[in-house]
Symmetry: C2
Subunit: 367 residues, 2 copies
């Protein structure tokens, strides 16, 4: 099977090494040259950690057309805020039955990709899926290096539309046995942990970050009171999840599942995750913790709530203040239910009982 | 002239020393005993700094009735969030022509006091005024001490209703020549600098404060990007000020007037105020910077905006997040246009031209 990896950063290099180590030809694409210059010179990446050695690539390029030509699977490994741009550029080079897997999709990544492809009127089947998190914990090293700290055991993924999930799973399961198919795309894509943690902790430590002082992002930045904001936002998520008949969003359950830590409140959970202990804050204020997690996480969630007639004042407050800090109108830039033509799909998920139970007046015609 | 000083903290002790030094009898009241125990033992305060020496008090008491009996002027020197409580307790002990001066009133302090007195149906005149800022920069010391770092040259004040301002001025001008009468109560009370600076800088450094790390509150906490939030909030203030025909709110003008520092943006202004340089952050997260400045500053401003049909998303976001951090519903607890029966007074200040100019549909009947 032939692969194209889009993005040669932390995750993209790890994928290139991993796939090459399994004997699959890999085309590695990156938009800017600086990130692939040394990989091109050496015709491959040098991995350390869980995978060790030199792994050649079939092609290292800034030419998207060459990168995706004749490949079976396209792995998109860029910040979710760049998915739209990639989709718009890639669409004219796609061919029948190609699989596009977003690593990760954040909230509604596969929908956004699908909508852009639909608008171009492509007649042949393309399969679009997204993972919930990146398969690797990895760090890009100097030159053509990558350190693969961990390959996760299990990574949830799903396709949009749902029905494509098993084709993607069947195609990829031998190469990427970690992929765990989730029946319900909506449930998977809304369980976006990054959007809960990153923007809020960044916002409530904005002064410290902006004046250039480093701190332990979780150990010091997530305090009992700042975690109250996380708890409140989790409650806002769950008003949405309830009305859509989805399992409640529980950060503590995710921590238990992912790290084997059993705690009852978000603060205790965060403070007991070993790998979080020494994670430093970013060296500047404006990072993907805002520019990715807000437009592809909190904005779609807020938009979904609005569509359902649910108020999310705390999520909206985080979006508002972050927009001023970053100088970006995230509500305009981000993914929304309207912008993604998701109205009809969402409507079908609402039950009248749940509306009444929540004390919300029925604002939406229920099919 | 006989004085009562309510509150024996930083400001109250300074007032007691100042008035006693001028030969006026002073009754000093405090709700809790601990703050006045040593003053009672020594029957006065020891001042250092701009005023030096031992200054006796006429009475040091926890009995509000005794404290205000037969005095001409009552100086209230407590956090503005306690004004309501003081007003409710003091009302039954007031006598004709007494002056009550709130130091400072924050936004609508004198209105709140007036409304509580009105509800009790008091038939004789009482004069209620508020200053914009505390006359002293002072620190309470151990035992019965106070250090008076600075007596300000000029402190704006005004009465509610406006017409009482000159009676208060005439009565107090010899004892407190620093009092500068402002014709328009509304303009004075809305120019509340604390509500702009304190909550926002605290919120955007909440993690650092809550994990117990000290930092320079202004020098490190007010950064280029956190000051963008201050600029945006100043713009929100000015939409209100414009519709009410008030002079625009300019933090930089205030800094120029107060500290002789001429700068064009809030960040540069803050970073060039000498006395701000070494001010440390509070040692804990929940302080008057939230519990006073939000309910008696940002909440009334937000309520006023709502009444005028103006959106203030950034102010509201600060209120929302601070409410969760503090576990207090500030929107319910704080001063509002409705709660203070200010609707008719505000309506009279609006001009139709200003509504049209702002592109706001006329929501309010204009008298």
């Amino acid at each position: 099977m032939k692969f194209c990896v889009i993005g040669a950063g932390n995750g993209g290099r790890a994928f290139a090494a991993y796939l090459s180590s399994k004997g699959h030809p890999v085309n590695l694409y990156n938009r800017s040259f600086s990130r692939i210059a040394d990989i091109k010179k050496k015709v491959g990446v040098i991995a350390s950690g869980e995978i060790k050695g030199y792994f050649p690539c079939n092609l290292i390029t800034q030419d998207l057309e060459l990168a995706v030509r004749d490949v079976d699977v396209i792995l998109v490994v860029v910040p979710a805020s760049a998915h739209k741009d990639i989709a718009e550029k890639i669409v004219k080079y796609l061919s029948q039955d190609q699989i596009i897997l977003l690593n990760p999709g954040r909230t509604f990544g596969a929908v956004e990709f699908r909508r852009i492809i639909e608008k171009k009127g492509i007649a042949f089947p393309i399969f679009i899926a997204e993972t919930q998190t990146l398969l690797f914990t990895s760090r890009q090293l100097k030159k053509n290096g990558v350190k693969i700290l961990k390959i996760k055991d299990l990574v949830d993924f799903s396709s949009f539309p749902n029905k494509d999930t098993f084709f993607v799973y069947d195609t990829l399961k031998d190469v990427l046995p970690q992929l765990n198919p989730v029946d319900d795309y909506l449930e998977m894509t809304l369980n976006n942990i990054g959007m809960l943690l990153h923007p809020i902790i960044s916002l409530l430590n904005a002064g410290t970050m902006d004046c250039g002082k480093e701190f332990k992002f979780y150990a010091e930045g997530a305090t009992p009171r700042t975690c109250e904001i996380l708890e409140t936002i989790q409650n806002e998520f769950n008003k949405i999840f309830k009305i859509l008949g989805l399992k409640q969003f529980r950060f503590c359950n995710w921590v238990n599942k992912s790290y084997g830590v059993k705690k009852k409140c978000i603060y205790d959970a965060i403070q007991n995750i070993k790998v979080y202990e020494n994670i430093n804050s970013p060296k500047q204020l404006i990072t993907r913790y805002f520019t990715e997690d807000i437009p592809t996480g909190l904005v779609p969630i807020s938009s979904l709530a609005k569509f359902l007639g649910i108020e999310t004042p705390i999520i909206d407050s985080v979006i508002n203040l972050s927009s001023v800090l970053c100088g970006i109108n995230f509500k305009n830039e981000g993914r929304t239910i309207g912008g993604l033509d998701l109205e009809e799909i969402i409507k079908k998920r609402i039950t009248t009982e749940e509306l009444i139970d929540l004390g919300i007046k029925q604002k939406i015609p229920i099919n």
